[in-house]
Assembly symmetry: C2
Homo-oligomer: 212 residues x 2
């Protein structure tokens, strides 16, 4: 449940010692991405427009198109940033559950993070880090030691699909609740149900793997 409390409460980490809204000097892809990620977390994806980001940066909208080919390219850079949080330290010992949780937490750490990453991933951009971490963990999993690379690739896709689908629904439900729409399931503790649902999904997947 802890992840639900920290949503929307990110302190942006600056990679440079430079103000994100650089009203004096010029901008580059990194600083623009930093400001865009903070803006995403503040206002959400529907309100993250190129024009609004330009205003935030103290620049004309057209200036952004010198740094990024289009809005989708900007979103891919944001997706990369979001997944930098994925903890790759436990991938080597094959702790698939831990990696799945790390990816899930990275997606939920920023407002609409799952949607941004999913759309970029579908376009073949942005989710390389998550994909690689899962593949490494699955490859070194005990049940999969004698498994062909093609099958590992399939399993990575299955797990990533579940994680993305799960995070997407969680965040869209959060968004729906903030608009006062009624959720279909009338559970007593929805956040606990969500947490156990995620664990159930990941473990069901792992237990269902053939042990040949």
């Amino acid at each position: 449940m802890a992840f639900l409390n920290t949503v929307h409460l990110n302190a942006v980490q600056y990679t440079q010692n430079m103000s994100p809204d650089n009203h004096s000097g010029r901008h580059d892809r990194a600083s623009i991405t930093t400001t865009a990620l903070r803006l995403l977390d503040d206002v959400g994806l529907p309100d993250l427009s190129m024009r609004r980001l330009a205003t935030e940066l103290g620049v004309q909208p057209s200036a952004l198109y010198w740094h990024f080919a289009n809005k989708q390219a900007l979103l891919a850079a944001i997706a990369d940033r979001i997944l930098e949080r994925v903890n790759t330290s436990r991938t080597r010992d094959g702790d698939v559950v831990a990696v799945a949780h790390s990816i899930r937490d990275a997606l939920l750490a920023y407002r609409d993070g799952a949607e941004v990453v999913m759309s970029s991933y579908a376009l073949g951009l942005g989710a390389d880090r998550a994909h690689a971490a899962l593949t490494t963990a699955l490859t070194s999993t005990a049940t999969a030691t004698a498994t062909a690379t093609a099958q590992v690739s399939d399993r990575t896709a299955v797990l990533l699909q579940f994680i993305l689908g799960h995070a997407l629904l969680v965040q869209q439900r959060l968004h729906a609740e903030s608009y006062g729409a009624a959720a279909p399931s009338a559970d007593a503790d929805p956040s606990a149900a969500i947490e156990s649902t995620f664990d159930l999904g990941v473990r069901a997947f792992l237990m269902g793997l053939p042990t040949e």
Copy 2:
């Protein structure tokens, strides 16, 4: 693989013997939804605007707001229509795999169908039919006969998340390919890999269920 060939090739089924683009008489929610679904399949979600739909109907954009409160309400009606294809005949004998395939096929039968249904489902609208079919099938499954209703609800959510996540990625990848973007996995036969990935996911889920 058959489903991939029939994507984008829908002949719209008219529930009334009435032209969908009713340029003479007046419109109602049903006829507007029919035209909107055809337009969605023709041009895709990003190009399905209220203004374009109004033009298709031979009407001013503002006319649509007499029938639907806003665009989201229209999309929920479309989501309901898409899921009318879900085959509910096999839910009673607990064939979860068949139901999962039926939902998947319904989502893939219209362009961007998964995205429309997912966003509506997250808002608590539109996916009741899919949710109910899965719940019925899981309840009458052999491995779940002695399972509490709360657990069935969790499992329904897990499976639906996987199905929606899977269909969403498949369709976004189709969309990406039409724009010439390179997919990250360089598989020999991607459509066959997708099909087996889906089966793997559903079966892994079912085999992972406790048999208590």
